[in-house]
């Protein structure tokens, strides 16, 4: 008995030994900045020490509540997330099902699907910005020459079109990421389940809704959590595509915080924005995690 306990203890010690360096690094580069941001958001100071730290309580937060630009940025962030995630999921499942079939050049097809996701967002976005351009962009050249429109469409200069343009790039880029995770899930579904289903007289659609989808719930939720977190803190996309324009129609929370911090050098107010954003993402993660826990 004692033998087993010491073995358990030894295993635990080994485990702790392996985990400690990681935990320390996480504490250093993750938890410290989070605490520092929270501290900054409750005070007034300048980062170079020109103005010493002074506690101001909830001043920045109450200012935030009355800041129409903050509410606009929050709305933009939610709209972008709500539009892009379902579309990405739809295309992601479709692509995964397609890649799961056997056909010629399957390897190349998979590579092609992953390509947009593998390229850096900033680069992708610049390419798309050129294609959207109303004077020498691809889309307007096609639309003008085919006679669909008479005057070039200013994709990035219109509130609604700019948001649509942003969602299109996000869906184009990250559907393949969703597909990758879902494909991994698809491949772990035992084949004999489908055989059993076929014997029971299932058609392709009932097969999909009765077998595939329920068994994909886990991977889908994982993909949803990761992508929603990404979408809620989207930065490179609006920064490179529209710079938040026209006016502030595509200005996400991250972009607004970036401007406040790096352009206006107001670190304290910026920290308050970041903390609120952190809470939003944290809450969303909790919702997903509980959804995941209760259903399984």
């Amino acid at each position: 008995m004692t033998q087993i306990l010491t073995l358990e203890k030894r295993t635990a010690l080994t485990g702790i030994g392996f985990v400690t360096p990681t935990v320390l690094i996480i504490a250093l580069i993750l938890i410290y900045p989070i605490i520092q941001s929270i501290v900054l958001s409750f005070g007034q100071s300048s980062i170079d020490g020109f103005e010493p730290y002074r506690f101001v309580g909830l001043d920045h937060y109450s200012k935030l509540m009355g800041d129409s630009r903050f509410w606009n940025a929050l709305g933009v962030t939610f709209t972008f997330t709500a539009l892009s995630i379902p579309l990405e999921l739809m295309f992601g499942i479709g692509l995964a099902l397609l890649m799961n079939e056997t056909f010629k050049f399957k390897g190349w097809a998979r590579l092609a699907v992953l390509f947009p996701w593998a390229l850096p967002t900033a680069l992708n976005t610049l390419i798309w910005r050129w294609m959207y351009n109303s004077d020498y962009g691809l889309f307007n050249a096609v639309a003008l020459q085919s006679g669909l429109v008479e005057r070039p469409i200013n994709f990035l200069g219109d509130d609604v079109l700019a948001m649509v343009a942003m969602v299109v790039v996000a869906v184009w880029k990250t559907s393949s990421f969703m597909a990758l995770i879902i494909l991994a899930g698809l491949q772990s579904i035992p084949r004999d389940l489908f055989e059993a289903g076929r014997i029971d007289g299932m058609n392709r659609w009932t097969e999909f809704t009765q077998i595939t989808l329920p068994l994909l719930k886990g991977p889908i939720l994982v993909a949803l959590i990761i992508r929603s977190m990404d979408a809620l803190r989207t930065f490179e996309l609006p920064f490179n595509l529209t710079d938040g324009g026209p006016a502030a129609a595509t200005e996400s929370l991250s972009l607004y915080a970036y401007k406040v911090i790096f352009d206006f050098l107001d670190f304290n107010f910026g920290a308050a924005i970041v903390v609120v954003q952190f809470l939003v993402i944290f809450t969303m993660s909790l919702v997903y995690v509980f959804a995941l826990r209760n259903k399984d």
Binding site: S46, D48, N133, S134, D135, D158
Partner: protein, 422 residues
């Protein structure tokens, strides 16, 4: 490891560790872009080192994109870094950097008569509490570029007023009947350049950012009328493409260079690419001062920009650094920059030099700068970036017809007043 390899490693180690130790009182680091001031940087550094034996200047080449170099500077300045000793700053940062205590006052370090020779409107942008914090290096500003061949073809005069520009654009566009040709392009994306544009338009109608008592006056009747003209150029007269609302200076320049616009209003840096040998409009364009509104002949409508040299407040060699600034902004060196690199001098006496008779380009730029309007950066100091951004947002709202001009400018006035605590 053989001997020569050992030697190389040893040498590298000495170089790596020796650098800070050998940083004597005369070693200076200077940060300035590699293109902005052309070949003059290298020449000035060489002549400075020749005139001051023992002094060395290391040229730290920073980005020529202002937003990028600003981020670099700010990071170092906030950490109270002692380098660079001397750095080039955009005219709109001078007030802000000075207020934050990042710049060393130059009074006493640079001779008073030299300071007196600097361009006064630029000096005012770098003056806080009667102290001068930076020396003007070169100026640039917005001009109205136009196609000489097209104006000639339709027998049109070089436009002086916005009314002329609109009329001429319509005449040429109708006559050419080419859907690819526009009348007017400029930088109306939500950038600093949009605010410069707006200052040009409103200034040309006799409006100003602050009234005589120092109150925010961005919603004055003159400003509203001028902004309405900007909106009308897009939707009523239809002489500008919709894409003008996403154009940065180079986008507008590209369109004009492709021969797709009659007029272009941007800064003078476009003159070089437009007149390059492979430019389709080379020899077919010229420029004039920014238009004004009929009846406002004396209105200031050239939005001024440019660069100044400043000394880091935490520099360990402030005197030598100021000497370098004085060297760059001396009469002789400013004259050379004007003659050889087409850089508009930051001091007024250079324009009167006899050699300038032949530098027609610089003289023409200079004539337009005489009707210049500086951005309200000195008065707003560290709040300038916010003020400019608030203006950009409301001007964009008006140009996108999301708000009426009057509503947008009233909101802009309220926002600016809130930022400034007025």
């Amino acid at each position: 490891m053989n001997n020569s390899k050992l030697y190389a490693v040893g040498l590298a180690a000495v170089m790596a560790f020796g650098a800070p130790i050998t940083a004597l009182a005369q070693d200076l680091v200077m940060s300035i872009g590699s293109r902005g001031y052309g070949g003059m940087v290298e020449r000035n550094i060489e002549s400075f080192q020749a005139a001051n034996p023992g002094a060395t200047v290391e040229w730290n080449k920073v980005s020529d994109v202002p937003g990028d170099s600003r981020k670099l500077y700010v990071t170092g300045l906030m950490a109270r870094s002692s380098t660079p000793d001397v750095f080039a700053i955009d005219v709109i940062w001078a007030g802000e950097f000075a207020q934050r205590g990042w710049l060393e006052p130059l009074n006493g370090l640079i001779a008073d008569d030299q300071i007196a020779a600097y361009n006064p409107s630029f000096l005012s942008a770098a003056t806080v509490d009667d102290k001068v914090y930076a020396a003007p290096l070169y100026l640039d500003g917005t001009h109205l570029f136009y196609r000489t061949d097209l104006l000639e073809k339709y027998g049109l005069e070089v436009p002086k007023t916005w009314e002329d520009v609109i009329m001429a654009s319509k005449t040429v566009m109708e006559g050419e009947n080419n859907p690819q040709l526009y009348g007017f392009v400029s930088m109306w994306a939500k950038i600093e350049g949009l605010f410069m544009n707006w200052l040009s338009f409103t200034g040309g109608n006799g409006a100003s950012f602050f009234d005589a008592d120092g109150n925010v006056a961005v919603n004055s009747p003159e400003a509203i009328a001028a902004t309405q003209t900007m909106v009308d150029i897009l939707y009523k007269h239809k002489i500008a493409p919709d894409s003008i609302l996403t154009m940065r200076p180079n986008d507008a320049r590209t369109l004009f260079q492709q021969g797709r616009s009659v007029f272009l209003m941007v800064q003078d840096f476009v003159h070089a690419p437009l007149s390059a040998a492979d430019s389709p409009v080379a020899g077919k364009f010229d420029f004039t001062r920014n238009p004004y509104f009929a009846g406002n002949k004396d209105a200031h409508s050239t939005a001024l920009g440019g660069w100044l040299l400043a000394v880091n407040a935490n520099s360990e060699n402030k005197e030598a650094a100021a000497k370098l600034v004085a060297h760059f902004t001396s009469f002789e060196n400013q004259l050379s920059a004007a003659l050889d690199e087409n850089r508009a001098p930051g001091r007024t006496d250079v324009y009167k030099a006899p050699e300038m008779e032949t530098a027609s380009l610089i003289r023409d730029f200079g004539a337009n700068f005489a009707v210049g309007v500086v951005r309200p950066s000195a008065k707003t100091g560290s709040l300038y970036p916010r003020v400019s951004e608030a203006m950009q947002i409301e001007i964009t709202n008006a140009l996108n017809q999301k708000k009426t001009v009057e509503k947008a400018l009233n909101d802009a006035a309220a926002a600016v007043k809130q930022i400034l605590g007025q």
